[in-house]
């Protein structure tokens, strides 16, 4: 029963990512979208929090990264970058989706 969790909030403005990471199960995937992608900026407080979560795949939506000027070596290690098609595939690959609004 693997789950896809979507987080669309900046981790610096809202507690959604923190709460999500407190409720994921092993084998789940967390997909960062919209302002949620700010969590992957290397060297940021949130990127450090992401790195501490084990057994969970972290992905981020490419269009939202690009819109915000976050690319290449500005993205912290261990984050898989996916396009909208990859988002659809993640929805299919997991049994259900929970949006952390």
């Amino acid at each position: 029963m693997a789950m896809l969790h979507t987080v669309n909030k900046s981790p610096y403005e809202k507690s959604a990512l923190e709460s999500c990471l407190n409720h994921v199960s092993e084998g789940d995937t967390v997909l960062l979208i919209e302002d949620g992608v700010y969590a992957v900026v290397k060297g940021g407080r949130a990127a450090n929090a992401l790195a501490s979560v084990k057994g969970v795949k972290i992905a981020a939506l490419e269009a939202d990264l690009k819109a915000r000027g976050i690319g290449g070596d500005k993205i912290t290690e261990g984050v898989e970058v996916v396009d909208y098609g990859g988002f659809v595939d993640l929805v299919e690959a997991n049994d259900k989706t929970e949006a952390w609004l």
């Binding site: 659809v88 595939d89 929805v91």
Partner: protein, 130 residues
């Protein structure tokens, strides 16, 4: 897979409706079925045909309407949320004694049961909101 999509925020104000639109397009391109797109909370504001976005910006309502036409999608606007926010179709206009309506082509107004039914019928329900 059979997909249900929920859109909870208005266009422009929040990115959620752009994300939902782009996700829907990608799902259709991959051959998935979109059973229904349900507009709730401020999401009902996607369905007003009175928007006049700046010339150099996207027209989100029009993008939804065109996607609906192209793929015969079921775009459902929640009636309770729509009433609270002033989104009416012609029928609701008459029923409520109003003198104008503003729903855009391709959207239909219906009840919250349509959301629950999408949850029951679809393989996956994906929510976009704030």
């Amino acid at each position: 897979m059979k997909l249900g999509i929920v859109v909870n925020e208005g266009p422009y104000t929040h990115e959620a409706s752009d994300t939902a639109y782009n996700f829907a397009v990608a799902a259709l391109e991959k051959g998935h079925e979109i059973y229904r797109i349900f507009f709730y909370h401020d999401g009902v504001n996607n369905a007003t045909r009175l928007t006049v976005p700046p010339q150099d910006d996207r027209n989100i309502q029009q993008k939804w309407t065109e996607l609906q036409e192209k793929h015969d999608l079921d775009l459902v606007v929640c009636i309770a949320a729509a009433q609270r926010r002033g989104i009416l179709d012609e029928n609701e206009m008459k029923r409520q004694g109003k003198d104008a309506y503003n729903i855009a082509p391709g959207f239909r107004i219906s009840g919250l049961g349509q959301l629950i039914e999408a949850g029951i019928q679809c393989d996956r329900l994906v929510t976009f909101g704030d």
